[in-house]
Every structure is written in structure tokens, then in C-alpha cells.
Symmetry: D2
């Protein structure tokens, strides 16, 4: 799973690891205080039980601050996804399908353009198996359409799908496998499905992010070194991700924040000095070489914790107890959304009749 991406400014500065643009944005706003980031547009919509936030990162400065590439990020938050709620699962799948449609239009993708769906991650490790599981329930049609006469194919999208595995299983960078296949089959767009790491346990298996900026090295739960995006593949890459783990080190920072907040919410505003984590960074760092100049005390704290805890907790992940069932459910939501988006409003009856 993900080694820390050393180029991630968010991690470098705040020692927070998250693959969600929504959380990156929140951290900057929380920590640095600006009501708005330059060149970053945020738009929020709500309906019963579901919040959809669209973040548009237009400037390089905004991208750099957030540690996310310029582009579009749409994020669905639906805490009810953790409650095994079938109705909500179906409602959100429909909304995700519509959002994918928007990304397809934005990418200039025609209704008959071939897409390759890629289920990233390790099928042997439950929290990383989101992509392969979603791909299992996908309706692939490329081979059927190839065998049909052209007049029947009208308006139908050839869909193909692979689960390339992870570097440790194959010895091959996932990106290399995808490039090879894209070249071969002449795909016009790639849809990547990937398990993500979030900062907050509340978001695990209850948040879905769609973006058009691809997958970056070190992102996702799996460990990747090669970017999977428009630059490397030459075609649009749409990434759909769901956070399934929080890194153990991250949870400790969050816990400390919660405890501090807990203090406040207990009505003891008048005694702030008595309740705090008064870690003195100088005392801990001693004569370590450190070029980073912490601006805020609380950030400093995170950095120190990260250094101290990494050797102990670095290979530990935090997941909900019922992760196996949740992965089943949310991978079904994604597969359902894609099946709807790919094949909506189209009757395959004629094609199938021809083929059988």
C-alpha cells in the first residue's frame, strides 16, 4: 500500500495523508485560514442524506497548495452508506452515473467511443480490493459488439475492463500494463477505480470521489510509481475512488484534535491552558537536521508525531470492522453507476438476439 509521496506538499507541511481533494481543501482552509483558495472553486449541493461537492482547481497555485493536480473533483458524502441502506445505495449510484456522464461530456467522449475500465488494487487484500471487485460486476460489451453487424452497434459503447493487479504480484508497474492494453485496443478513455486513503475515519466507505486528473504516484491504497493520466496515456483518465483506510499515524493526529475539541465542547473555555498537548518541538527534535520551518504550533505537533510514530505504526491501517461487507456494497454502487452510465437508454436486446 501507499508509501508516502515525498512530493506531496500537504504531507510535507501538515503531515496529513489524504487522497481526497475535499479533505485537502479543508485542511488548507482550517490551517491557513483563507475563506477561499486562489483559483479553486467550490460548489456544494445537498439532497436527503447525500452531499455533493464539486471542486474545480483552476490555478497552479491552488493545485500546489492543495497538493492535487489542476482539474475537476466531485465528491459524494453519504454517511448512510455505512448503514447497509439499499435505497441510498441505489440513489447514490444514479447520481454517480449522472456525474460520470458530465465528466464524459467534459472529456469530449462520444457515445460509441470505447472505454477501458481499470480495477486498480490488490484482490488479496480486502481494503485494497475495491477496484477488482467493482470490475467483476461490470457489464463488458466490447467483444459482443465486435461480433455484431455495424447497423446494430449504433449508439452502443464498447466497454472493456481489466484488473491489472499490483506491482508486488506482477513485477510490472500497473501503469505499464494499462498503457500496453490501451495501445492495443484503441481505447478512447480510461476509467480507473481505486481504493483511497482518507484523513478521517468517518469518510471510510461513505465517500465517493470522481476526478479527471488521473492517478498520481503514491496515491491510492496501493503503491504506484507511475502516473496514470492524460499525459502518460494520451487519452482522458477518469478516476473513481472510495476511501477504505486511514493510515494509523493519521488517526493519532485526528484523535488529538478530537480530544482538544472535546475539551472545548465540554464548556471549559475558561481553562484552555490546562488542557492541551503542549509538545515542544525543539525538545523533541533536538539536534536533528530539519529544514522545514513550522508556522503553526499544531502543525509542528503533527510533524513530530509523524516522525516518532512512523517506525511503529507505518505499516498499520485503520478500517471499519465490517470492511469485507462494506467493500462488497460500495463496489456494487460503483459498478451499478458505471453500468447505468455506459449503457443507459439503450436496448441491448437486438445485439443479444443477433449473437445467440
Amino acid at each position: 500500500m501507499a508509501k508516502v509521496n515525498q512530493q506531496d506538499p500537504l504531507f510535507e507541511k501538515y503531515h496529513i495523508r489524504t487522497d481526497l481533494a475535499l479533505e485537502s481543501h479543508q485542511v488548507i482552509v482550517e490551517q491557513e485560514g483563507p475563506p477561499e483558495l486562489p483559483g479553486v472553486k467550490v460548489h456544494t449541493e445537498k439532497e436527503e442524506g447525500i452531499t455533493l461537492t464539486r471542486i474545480q482547481v483552476e490555478s497552479d497555485l491552488g493545485a500546489q497548495m492543495m497538493g492535487k493536480a489542476p482539474g475537476n473533483y466531485s465528491t459524494f458524502e453519504a454517511p448512510g452508506l455505512r448503514m447497509h441502506n439499499r435505497d441510498l445505495q441505489e440513489r447514490i449510484a444514479e447520481m454517480v452515473a449522472k456525474e460520470i456522464d458530465w465528466f464524459f461530456e467534459e472529456a469530449g467522449l462520444g457515445p460509441e467511443d470505447t472505454v477501458l475500465v481499470v480495477g486498480l488494487g490488490n484482490w488479496n487484500a480486502t481494503p485494497d480490493a475495491l477496484g477488482p471487485r467493482a470490475v467483476e460486476n461490470l457489464m463488458v460489451t466490447r467483444h459482443l459488439l465486435e461480433m455484431s453487424p455495424p447497423e446494430l452497434r449504433e449508439g452502443l459503447r464498447p466497454v472493456s475492463a481489466i484488473s491489472p493487479g499490483v506491482l508486488g504480484l506482477t513485477g510490472i508497474e500497473t501503469g505499464e500494463i494499462i498503457m500496453g492494453v490501451v495501445d492495443r485496443i484503441g481505447a478512447k478513455a480510461v476509467i480507473c477505480i481505486d481504493a483511497l486513503a482518507s484523513r478521517s475515519v468517518d469518510r471510510l466507505c461513505s465517500t465517493i470521489q470522481i476526478s479527471d486528473t488521473g492517478i498520481h504516484p503514491g496515491a491510492g491504497v496501493g503503491n504506484r510509481r507511475l502516473a496514470i493520466n492524460k499525459e502518460t496515456l494520451g487519452i482522458p483518465v477518469i478516476a473513481i475512488g472510495i476511501p477504505t483506510v486511514v493510515h494509523a499515524v493519521t488517526i493519532v493526529s485526528d484523535a488529538m484534535d478530537l480530544i482538544e475539541q472535546g475539551r472545548v465542547s465540554n464548556g471549559s473555555e475558561e481553562l484552555p491552558s490546562r488542557v492541551q498537548f503542549s509538545i515542544d518541538p525543539e525538545a523533541i527534535r533536538g539536534n536533528q537536521e530539519q529544514s522545514v520551518r513550522p508556522q503553526v504550533r499544531s502543525l509542528d505537533k503533527r510533524q513530530i508525531m509523524s516522525q516518532v510514530l512512523e517506525p511503529y505504526f507505518g505499516s498499520m491501517i485503520v478500517t471499519p470492522k465490517e470492511i469485507d461487507q462494506l467493500i462488497e456494497e460500495v463496489s456494487d454502487v460503483i459498478a451499478g453507476a458505471l453500468n447505468t452510465s455506459f449503457h443507459a437508454g439503450v436496448s441491448y436486446d437486438e445485439v443479444f438476439k443477433y449473437l445467440s
Copy 2:
């Protein structure tokens, strides 16, 4: 998975959750400072890469302090088990086999006495699947011996095995299923295999505990309400457990300890006051009703954290990233140890020849 057992004095007092007697003992010694607990004998043996600690809880007072029933607890610690080291796996399986032999002798179990091995836990949840996985690799022989003529059965142990599932899957308490089966087949002893929770991430999948005190309500990763022990079953119960998760709340406490220690190890002994978690319990608790009277400041801290964090992290577990592979490996170690212990020094050739 385990709801907190409210009667566990260790949790009530120190807010530490562990199923390992070894860790309970350490906590008491650390927190309360006595070099020895009354009526608790501890004996340690070491060989390359493996530490075996035998704890004998003889007095009710010691049992009460540790929150563990009186009896014998043998614990193997072998950090190398996390390194996928085959040789170590085989060496430790042999040592575990010998230790099981000792527990059998202690329980007065004869070489031809039928045993029932029970794989506790939920096969659908990776960290809880230890028991069912171990049982899959067990050599069961009861049915073969029943079909053989008596003269061939001499010295052979009839072994049977079940994985009863968990309450949420069956609607039946695990203990009820075991009682029903034990009655039917006339088993002379039960061996339970179970995934445990530990306090420390270092012990995950690297520690094996064998005990003769059975399984207690709320213990193990799974949630059980009925004890599985000599009192309820009427026959000796030997429990073999491996910690596979740490509760998320527990990890935060441990992290804070590490950070405080980190400070010290950075040579800043002279500045203790500047580096600490100076939580003031009064400030946090405010007007909450609290009858517990904390004795030591550090305990207080744990208790408060536990209260604040439980609603957020209560359903979260911490596991190694590669838990799927580790579960495979350690369940093989247990199955190997049991196969060796059950069938050691005996040739099944004649039996099999007769049967085929």
C-alpha cells in the same frame, strides 16, 4: 467483533483492551509498580527469535488484578512471524505442539481421547477468520477411526473439528453450538482457536497464546456472550489465540506513550515540563457524572481519551496492511502445531490401508 466487557477490571481502570495475559500483567506492573503480583508466577524462556513466557495465575486476587481467570497462560513472542519466515514458522509450530502436549497432560487427557477443535470467528472478516482458516488445514480423523477395527485404532486420537460461525451469521450463540456438538460426540476436550485483540501493534500476528481458562464473554475479536470453558462444557477447554487487531482507541493511547518516550529518547530529559500531554481531567469532564477516582495522572488520560474517542473510533480496528497473507501464514502455524501434537509418532498407514 468484541464489545467491551464491562466487567474487565483492566479496561475499567486503565481503559486498555487486551486478550493477552502477558499484556495484562505488563500493564499492572507498569502502572502499579509491584515487582510481583500476589499468586502470579512468571517464567520466561528464550531461544533464537522466540520468547516463551509462562504465566500461572494461582490466586483470585492476581486474577482479579489482571482481569484474567486463574489458570495457565503460555505466550510465544516471535517478531519474525511478520517477516514471512518459513523456517521460523516451522520451528515455532513445533514448540507450540510441545506446549499443547503439556496442556493435554495437565488436563489429564489420554492419547486416545476424542478432541473437538473449534475454529471461532467470522470467515467473512479477514482479521476474525483465523479460527476457521486453521480448521481448514487440520487433519480430522474421527470418522476414519470409527470405521476401522478396534485393533488398528490403538494409540490414535480421534480428532473432529467445526467452525460454528458467529452470532450475526447463525442467530445462535457459538457456545450453544459447541455444547450441542460436544454432548453428541462425547468429546473429552475442546481446543478453541480464536483471533484476539492486543494492546500493541507489534504483537499482531507475531504472538501466540495458549491457555486452559477457556474463552470469556467479550473476549476475542468476535462478540460472544456465553463463556466457553470447563464450567459451561464440563470438559477441559484449551484456547489458542493470536492477536490480529488493536482497537483504534487503544492505539491512540499507545501513540501518546510513544511520543512521551520519544521525547525522552531524544535526550531532552532536562525539559520534561515542556513536552507532555497535560490533559486536565476536570476540565474535560466538566459536569459529567463520573464515579471512578483515577489514581494516576496517566490513567486518567487514557480514560478521558477513551470517552472522547469511543463514539468516533469505536468501530474501527487497526491491522497490518498485509493482514490477509499473515492470517494465512499464522493459521498454518496453528494447524501444523495441532497436527503434530495430535498425531505425533503415530503411523496412520495401517488405518488408511484398511480404509482404502
Copy 3:
């Protein structure tokens, strides 16, 4: 899987192995020619794509001829189940639910009487995994109801479920485990789900049999020696089975029948003598000791084939290529039918509200 039950008159006489009463009945009518069997009532209903045949075996003579215990056998035939047809799956699940209701009434089972569902078979062998798979999707409620106040439980049925495994995995007769659990939990009826063997490949995964005669030694795909029925358990046993395999020896006989029929359907009625399997039993048997006196030439042929082929094909089974997917689908149909039957017309909302 099933060793031949030597007491099965159908096998002894016609060397046909089937767990379906419907097929037994057909064989007798075909081979012995009576329009009706004494004490056996047959009633057929049809609706689009589904045929339901109810066979009532009332006399011991009829039972003996068919090699099936006296009682009720309802069989759904729906060739479309092999076509992955969702609508049909749902329609048939509803019909099966209603038929189960009828069996419950017949058994005098009240709406609040506890039932134990038993998923028979080996979860590691795909064609034998029907029972365990169906149980995975069952809504178990016994533990929830036990925790609710009596006034909320009114009209609700406590459902529990186990998958006891097979003799080779546990060393314990499946029947023994069931008896033990039934005693413990005070179940009022047992529902067994089991993979069956049929005579015809057409019936694989497209036929569902419900009966109230229990499971008999040697029946089912798995090899059982102990009957699971009202006599052994003391409570009604309703068995739901779906054929998933044909024994390889059986398929050869059927193939020969097909070839002979093929001849006829090719319009060569006038040349019967030139197209036939003219096996001379005397020539084959030579000086073997054989007490069976074949009445009909075609039976003789089957018997000889069975003797010659058993050593070669005895451990071979015939299944559809896509058996893994079919097992998933039909186990869902059974689980759906049971969930409907058990919990129909009842709102669990209040119970769940109380519990959460």
C-alpha cells in the same frame, strides 16, 4: 460426494441415480409402463416458463417402487434458470416461498416457531456448495428477537442457520451436529438445503425440489450415512434441493437413449434392427456371479454399463461449464424464497429500532 445407496431399488434395478422424486416416477412409468403408480398422486400446474409438479407418495408400495420415502414432493422445473434471467428468478422465488408456506402449514408450524436452516454440503467444492451459499444470504433473526421485549416479538419467527460442513472436513456426521444444535436451541422445524444429483443434464440448476421426507443416507451430492428426518430429529424436516451434478456413469446411459431416440427421430422407423446397442449380457458377464434377472433388455444394458464403467468414471461428475455462476444464482433464489416465507408481511422496523 454420494456413494451409491445400495438399498435404493431404483439404482439396484435400473442403475439410475437420482435424488428427484419426479425423475424416479418417470423412470418407473417409462420402464414398467403403468399409467399410474399405486398410492402415488401426481398433479401438475404450469405458468409461463415454470412447471410445478406435486407428487404425493401415500403408499409403501409406491414408495418402494420409486425408492423414495412416503410424503410430499413439489418440484419446480424452469429451464430459464440456466439463462441468467432475473425476472424468472424472482418469480420462481415467490412461488417457492408459497410452496414452503404450504409445507409449514402441513407440518403444523406456527408463525412464531423457531426454525433452523441447515446448509448441507462442502463449501470448498463448487457443485456441493449450494447449501452453505444459500445460508450466507439468509436473514437470521433468532438472536435479535431474543434481545427484544416480548411485546415486540409478536408474529415474528426466530430464524437461525448453520452450515455444518461435511464428514471429511469435520470428522462428524452432519446429522449428529444438527441433532446437537436442535436440542440446544429448541428448534421446532429444520429446513435443509442440499445439492442433488439428477439423471438428466437438462435439470441441472433448473429444477427445485421441496419435500417433507428429509434427507436419506446416500442422498444428496455429499456422502451421508445418517438420515436427517422427523424420525431422527423428532421435528419436521423440510428439504429443499437443486440438482447440480449428474454422475458420469448415468450420463452414458442417457446418451445411449438419446442416440436410440435420435435414430427414431431421423425417420428410420423401418430399419430398427440396424440401429441398436445389441449388448448381449451373457457374453459380457461370462462366469460372473449374478443373481439379478433382468426383465427388459434396456435395463440389462444399463446394469452392464454400470458395472463396466464404475471403476473408470465412478468419481467423475458432469456439470455445466458455468457452474460457479449458476450456483450463485440458484442459491440466491432459495435464500430469497426463504426470506420471503419466513418474514413475509411482517415489519421488523420496530424490532430493529428497539435494538439499535
Copy 4:
């Protein structure tokens, strides 16, 4: 799974489906009687419990007669592989490793040349899952070696591996995926592992074929349309296959042969006319259009059976009852053989030391 390859002369003529060159050869010798085929060399070696037959198809005529491409075919027969015999499994893995070495030499492959191992087949269908299962246990090293300094890589072979899935799951021809990956990573040879169909049930999971002629359309258990061989990939392709299924139609023919042989072995040589399948092809075929001119009566019989049975049994396969366990075992044998062959005599200690 495999649709019939219409160009297969063996099927066209004798209606026998087999992917084993050994069986093709036998059929020709049996049916057409020549002691030797032109341009086909056969060499047999035996050791305890294992027979190794090397067939060299040198001429196009021989290739055409056998329906197999010109090249080398080495086949291990070890009936004991069906008996779960560990010792035999290890002995045969070593022999297979040596044979693979020979194929590597023959292909001019250097010790540091990158190989890509391809696990063909459908992981969701047990008898077709041989390839993906074997790949799971393979030691892949390409990514490790790429990260090591050149001086440590000396003499080490970079091994990579993929399981590309099947057309129905991906919408992409397996051959296309392999070509794409081979191009990307610059592999010097491809090793394909595939489940095969054999003619005889005795060979299921007890026979291993290694060949250098690649995988041909319609071969293997899965249905492929694109050849995977030196012509299409531009690099040597070595295929390792194990028969896991017999087509249901094929088993019927074999059964009839067995019955006829059974007659003879019963000592009734003097009564041949009374015991035979005297199918008259004219009588069956009637006015069907048939251009094939059968030469021998027994062939005719097969052809007719094939025509009559195909609609009924065409989608049915025959496997051993314990196929799940057997697939586990034989895929371990192949993975073990490849690990030995790839990494024999080389210490990875230094590499691993460097990397960790």
C-alpha cells in the same frame, strides 16, 4: 470454455477433442494403425510413478495428421497426482523444472532474460482457474531487480506475471492483452499456464504437458480466438498445461469403447457379433447432408454420437468430484517447478538485503 476448433482435423475426422499431443498421437496410431507417423519422433522415459514422453513433430504432414503444430511436446503422466501425494508432487515439480530448462535452452533464452508468465483462464470457474492459481504462488522479481544496483542483478532472471482473465470478463482477447504487455516490458519469452481438455478422465489432473508451439485458437478450456505463439508475439512461447476437464460428448465415446473392451476382457472372444454397438450410420443420418466419408465403422459411430449429443451435452463438462482440491495441488506443482527453474542455484539474499 473451448468451442470446437472447426479446423482441428482430429475433431473433424474422429470427433475427439484433446489438447494433449500425446493423446492425438495415440488416436492416430490406434485408428490408422501405422507404427510410426512420418516426421514424428516419440521418446519415453520412466521412473517410479512417472512417465515422461517427448514427442517431436518435425514434419507438416505429421502435424496435420495430429492436428498439432510442429514443435516439441513433453508430457508427464503421474496417476499418483490424484492421490494427494506430497512426495510425488515434489518429485514431479523438480522434473518439470528440468524440462522447462531444456525448453529455455532450446529457445536460446539467457539466464538474465526477462520472462512474462501468463496465467490463462477464468479465476471464477474452478476447472479453468489453473493458470491464475499457479501465478498466485509465483515468485515475481522483475520489480525488485529493477530497483537493485546492476552488480547485484548478475545471473538473476527478472520474472513478471499476469492473469489477463477471459474474453467474457474483460471484453478483450487474451492475446491482445499479452501482446500489449510484452511490448511494454520487453519480455524475451512468454510462459503460458492453461487448463486443458483431454480425451480420457484418467488424465485429469494427473498429466502435465509442456510445449513450445504456443496456444492455438480454440485450445485450452477457455475460448480463445487469437493464437498466442512466436508468430503473433515475436518471442518464444512455452505453454504448460494440465487437463482438468473432459467434454461430456467425448466421455460417451470413451465409455462405449470401454464397454466393447469390457466384453473382450470377459473372455467372450468367440461371441463378438452379439456384443457390439451396431449403429448403422445410414439409418441415423437419413437424408441429412453429410460430405464426410467415414473410413472406419468406429469413427462413424463417434461422428454420429457427436451430432446427436452435441445439442444436449455440448455445454457440459466432466471433472473429478474433488476438482477444487486437485486444482490447488497441481497449480502448486507448476508454480514450484517454475520457481525452481527461474531462480535455481541463485541466492537472492544479497538482493533482498539491499532492498530491505
